[in-house]
């Protein structure tokens, strides 16, 4: 990951800012190359990375998270703040004020991730540091993150393998149980998660299993029991050392009906159409339009509004976006989750969500562990599984 470190340092040194301050959990992760424990669930607890043009970068973290950052090999400076020094973000702001003054940056231009910092926190920082010229640096973050280094791609590829193996191992538990030794949907979802972790993942976030009619919508709470004859969708995002995968897989309990098989084939057909366009020089909205035209020609209905994919990297959903509104041109090093929703016989949402890296010649699949050209068929009659 030295390549990434160098890339970030070069971007900061060549930027118009005297320092960059990242407050978003994903941007923190990206710049520091360390992962915070579930930080997005603590809106009143803040951490940040300050990267000055000259001098060492500093992370500002609460005590509870500090050792975890050091244990991940953080070699820059660290400022640990005392949460008893201010209400909610007050202690963080106080620490930031002291830090920026001590670094002589209190009359300088600091780029900040305005798409992440809240209005309230920004007001507090501006109030304490009136001499600082705060400027949105979001385009810089976006441009940096959108093209991955080889090291980043390697981590994403590992995360894909971990997640696919996690899903498959969970499915193996399901084999032989449908119809007589009942499995709850919650337990099946948990098996996906635990097997993903066992395969080396450092975290699982989005987790959803939609069986039968529950699969008609994006997410339902994991309730009820698995029964025969259903198409089901398994969605999961997880990360390996802070780099994410975001996969969607399909299965069927019992032997699929011809209608179910045909429905899945339609999805694969559109996926293959999209893959023709996943290459350098093609704009994201052109990929979308190509799929839309193919769907129309083949009379295949697909869920248009969410688009057909997005970037993945230091978060599980990021730029670029394969939708009508995104004219970003695909370039080598971009990592795309291709995600086309079509419909099953009972209007179940069907997708086969894979990750691809754009290469000089086209694309390369990162989630290659299984082809998933067919739905996973869960059957068997063992009683001791």
């Amino acid at each position: 990951m030295d390549q990434l470190k160098q890339k970030i340092e070069t971007a900061v040194s060549e930027s118009q800012y005297d320092a960059i301050l990242a407050l978003g959990v994903d941007n923190y992760n990206y710049l520091s190359r360390t992962v915070l424990p579930f930080a997005e669930n603590y809106p009143s607890r803040k951490a940040a990375v300050l990267m000055p043009k000259e001098g060492s970068p500093v992370v500002i973290v609460p005590e509870e998270w500090s050792q975890a950052v050091l244990d991940q090999g953080w070699t820059g400076e660290m400022l640990v703040y005392d949460e008893n020094q201010g209400y909610e973000t007050g202690a963080f702001v106080k620490a930031m004020e002291e830090l920026i003054v001590s670094m002589g940056l209190d009359k300088n231009k600091i780029g900040i991730d305005a798409a992440r910092v809240t209005k309230g926190l920004m007001d507090s920082l501006s109030g304490k540091l009136p001499g600082v010229q705060w400027e949105p640096a979001d385009p810089m973050f976006r441009d940096l993150r959108i093209i991955k280094t080889e090291g980043e791609i390697g981590l994403i590829e590992r995360a894909c393998k971990q997640a696919d193996r996690g899903i498959i191992y969970a499915l193996m538990h399901l084999d032989g149980t449908v119809g007589h030794q009942r499995y709850s949907i919650a337990e099946f979802a948990e098996r996906m998660r635990v097997h993903t972790n066992e395969n080396g993942a450092s975290g699982v976030s989005l987790l959803n299993c939609g069986f039968g009619s529950d699969g008609q919508i994006y997410y339902t709470p994991q309730r009820g029991w698995i029964k025969e004859g259903d198409i089901f969708r398994m969605d999961m995002s997880g990360h390996y050392m802070g780099y994410w995968t975001n996969l969607g897989r399909m299965g069927v309990t019992g032997s699929p009906s011809p209608e179910q098989e045909d429905a899945y084939k339609e999805n694969i057909l559109l996926r293959d159409k999209a893959l023709e366009m996943l290459k350098p020089g093609v704009a994201c909205n052109e990929v979308y339009a190509h799929v839309a035209r193919a769907a129309e020609k083949q009379a295949i209905g697909f869920w248009k509004e969410p688009g057909i994919g997005h970037g993945v990297g230091a978060s599980h959903h990021e730029a670029p976006y394969l939708n009508l509104n995104c004219s970003t041109e695909l370039k080598p090093g971009m990592v795309i989750a291709l995600d086309i929703y079509t419909y099953g016989p009972r209007k179940e949402l069907i997708h086969d969500k894979d990750l691809y890296v754009i290469t000089e010649d086209g694309n390369r699949k990162l989630s290659w562990y299984m082809t998933w050209d067919k739905m996973y068929e869960v059957y068997g009659m063992r009683t001791t599984h």
Partner: protein
């Protein structure tokens, strides 16, 4: 719960003089809508908001992909979806502006949760709603969420009780001379949680089992948080068992200590320190006291008894629609405690081997003082592992 919260929110909006509130924080959206989607906070590039006009049905603004899931779970039955544009919040801003212009009088006062709203979203809204008065409404939301309704308390009691039972439920399976490794124990806690119909989805719905010597930190084996290492707890060692879980989006956060066999005198003494701190908190947690008073009382008890209490951290926080919210048992929180507030008291202390020992106990503030909820067993002593099943 639906009626209680809707009535409370409507009253709050009227009393505070807002014509509407526009709320972006995932926790605030969940509180106002009743829809627990475990994932919005992990989509930093996607926005979701509730627009609640005074005396009118609220509307949720959200990406199309999430709409049906939201409607399936929420008591809000009006939605407005928007087209996502890369790197730009213009889609959600346009949708919110449309609602504002159609439901709020010109120059009306619209409250916004500025402590959750991204700066770029706020700036666009400010420009697009220049005919309106945009003002922070974080204090209103804080006040609404601080004091739980009877139904919220009932649900929290259920979650906290099941959480404790899940930890203890797996503790029964840990054998002194044949213990499994931390990863296996971690999964065992999760399984017991699922058996009790706790939700274990979401990026913070975690279990963690940590034994010596990994107990020296809050989050061992970073960044493999809440997964567990292969270390097996040994006889006369500590095992820290943690579980964070939800039911319908309401949280519990529990930690219990397990002693591998009868604890040694040193272990008993260390555990007694946690009990002493809990008793200090129990005495201090009452209506009229400030949260900072509780912090001071516990800190003073620790100092008097030479207990090595972790500094720089709070000694607990509220739970509800999030797992870490006001009031905070912190030197900096001047909140006056009132009946209906709920607090997880969470001290962390160091033993002679530098292990971090913890206990998390949940208290509801009552008219008379407080009520400790959720104990599966009497935690004046740790769970003591068995030799056989």
């Amino acid at each position: 719960m639906r009626e209680e919260i809707i009535e409370k929110v409507n009253a709050g909006i009227s009393e505070a003089g807002y014509d509407a509130i526009l709320v972006f924080g995932y926790d605030n959206v969940q509180y106002l809508s009743g829809a627990y989607l475990h994932f919005p906070q992990s989509f930093p590039d996607r926005y979701m908001a509730v627009f609640w006009t005074k005396d009118e049905p609220a509307t949720c603004v959200l990406p199309h992909e999430w709409e049906s899931s939201f409607l399936n779970l929420s008591w809000i039955n009006k939605t407005r979806t928007y087209n996502e544009k890369p790197g730009s919040p213009s889609g959600i801003v346009e949708a919110a502006v449309h609602i504002a212009k159609n439901t709020v009088r010109k120059t009306g006062r619209i409250g916004i949760d500025v402590n959750r709203t991204p700066l770029n979203v706020y700036n666009r809204l400010k420009g697009a709603l220049e005919d309106f008065e945009l003002v922070p409404c974080d204090d209103l939301l804080r006040e609404l969420r601080l004091r739980k309704t009877p139904q919220e308390l009932k649900l929290l009691d259920e979650v906290v009780s099941k959480n404790d039972q899940s930890i203890a439920g797996h503790a029964h399976h840990i054998l002194v001379l044949q213990a499994n490794g931390e990863m296996n124990i971690t999964e065992g806690i999760r399984t017991h949680a699922i058996e009790r119909e706790l939700d274990e989805v979401g990026h913070q719905a975690i279990a963690q089992a940590v034994s010596e010597p990994n107990m020296k930190t809050w989050w061992p084996s970073a960044p493999m948080f809440g997964i567990g290492l292969d270390k097996k707890p040994l006889q006369r060692e500590w095992l820290r068992m943690e579980l964070v879980s939800t039911v319908n989006g309401y949280w519990s956060n529990g930690v219990r200590m397990l002693s591998m066999d009868d604890p040694t005198d040193e272990m008993k003494e260390d555990y007694q320190s946690l009990v002493t701190l809990r008793e200090a908190a129990r005495e201090a947690l009452k209506p009229g006291a400030k949260a900072s008073d509780v912090y001071s009382a516990v800190k003073a008890t620790a100092d008097e008894n030479e207990i090595k209490l972790e500094s720089k951290v709070t000694l607990g926080a509220g739970i509800g629609a999030s797992n870490y919210e006001p009031p905070y048992i912190s030197a900096a929180d001047e909140t006056e405690l009132e009946p209906g507030m709920i607090i997880v008291f969470a001290p962390a202390i160091r033993d002679a081997k530098d292990n971090l020992l913890m206990a998390k106990d949940t208290f509801i503030i009552t008219e008379e003082g407080n009520k400790l909820i959720g104990w599966w067993k009497d935690w004046r002593e740790p769970f003591i592992a068995n030799y056989t099943y």
